[in-house]
Amino acid sequence: MSNDIAILGVGMHPWGKWGKNFTEYGVHAARAALADAGIPWQDVGFVSGAATMRCGYPGYVAGATFAQALGWQGAQVNTSYAACASGSQALAAAQAKILSGECEVALVVGADTTPKGFLAPAKGYRPEDPDWLRFYLGITNPTYFALYARRRIDLYGDSEADFARVKIKNSEHGFTNPNARYKKKFTLDEVLNSAMVADPLRLLQICATSDGGAAMIVSSMDYAKRLGKTNPVKVAAVSTVTPTFASAVVEMPDIATDSAAAAGVEAHSFRAALPVKAYEQAGIGPEDVDVAEVYDLSSALELDWYEDLQFCPRGEAASLVREGVTRLGGRLPVNPSGGLACFGEAVPAQALAQVCELTWQLRGEAGDRQVSGAKVGITANQGLFGHGSSVIVKK
């Protein structure tokens, strides 16, 4: 109860390939969030930015860059970089400031402008950098997603059609989302006939990269009450836990896992640890969840998340998508926004976009993609170097 903070406002700049400076997307999203909250920019005491590594120095100091763009007004500033979890770490920084009483209202914002095609590493001969090394050896991001997908087929009997059903579901969800980049409903044939990229994953089952921006205004529960917002959507948990040694699954960008050969060391799954911590912080369980936004870097990976979020026992996720449990109208819709399948990844904005969507869902403002009666939502994502996050929001 006392660990909750209020979400007063959320806003996004639509995802796409707009080719503009990332600051512009961030300002657009921040102003939308301020307007949604109904508070003036001058009331914000803390600006927590999620950094981008692809837009030069202004991206490295994103918190200050956005604060300057919105007009210096003396707020405290912070920048977080944590790959795909950057937005969640920026949110965690705001949560800590607010709960400690150091500030009442914070802006959390992330935005990115992305290059075309594969995300490539910095140049030079740098074998000591695992991200450089794996590209040199011919191992790209889809390689890892495909290894996980192949495990599902060989261990659990999942099929390519199961993965395609995830894509089809998400494409139907995102079809009317004004912030989504790809608005096209796909058929099974279209997905299964798209080009093979990394067997068993095809082009239409792997997420692209996008430009985009997302922002939130969060505050103390007291401040929300003074504004007359007696029952705002609240952030109940932000989990950014690291993996536990020894990590059992080969994770991007590594070429090898940890070794679990030492006495007393067990192999652990990282993805499963993230929601466990979030559930514990929020004091709720998977049975309480009404809606989820998960990181579908590939369609098959969405199924791994069902199991990591404990929506079903290990190995049974495909049945949830086959039976329509996770589509709109089902018992537990996943990725009502359309997910990465409809957005493409805008790294520092993506974890915040997940929370924006859940906020609209819990307020009942999600329009055609509304999950009826949603009261509890959870997000999950994972990126490079042991960075990941899971955020729980509730009514």
Partner: protein, 144 residues
């Protein structure tokens, strides 16, 4: 393959013994944790604060944990043949080391010839050529 001299694409990561190549790893002298690559100066086991390691050959045989392929040419620093030839990739579990090591699968072996649990062994094969040498790397080869 041309008759240029052969050299390691990444120096010191594997032996250049073409019959029985092996990856060169490190092992913590205190807790026994293995590392690959061996470029380690502090043990990452949270229960161990050692900074002392022995270099050693890793197991050259393992079992496929999972596999895939690359149908499209990766970006730099990958050096592609022209035209690009797709290749398979395997993640291989080493039993003694209790770790998984990624690598390409040798040329000519496609994903339809692989399965989870299949035994494989380490091989050396060209990764690319430059003007003077053939740069070889480790790859996984299905065992007969």
């Amino acid at each position: 393959m041309s008759d240029k001299p052969v050299s390691a694409a990444i120096d010191g990561w594997y032996s250049l013994d073409h019959e029985q190549p092996h990856l060169i790893g490190a092992q913590c002298t205190v807790c026994g944790t293995y590392y690959f690559p061996k470029t380690i100066s502090y043990c990452r086991n949270p229960g161990c604060d050692s900074s002392s390691f022995n270099e050693l050959p890793l197991s050259r045989e393992g079992k496929i944990w999972s596999y895939t392929n690359a149908c499209y040419q990766p970006p730099e620093p990958f050096v592609a043949d022209d035209p690009f030839v797709p290749y398979a990739i395997a993640a291989v579990e080493l039993e003694r080391e209790k770790m998984i090591v990624l690598g390409q699968v040798i040329k000519g072996v496609g994903v339809d010839e692989l399965k989870v649990g299949q035994p494989v062994e380490l091989a050396l094969e060209a990764l690319h050529e430059d003007d003077d040498t053939i740069k070889v790397t480790w790859k996984w080869r299905p065992q007969a």
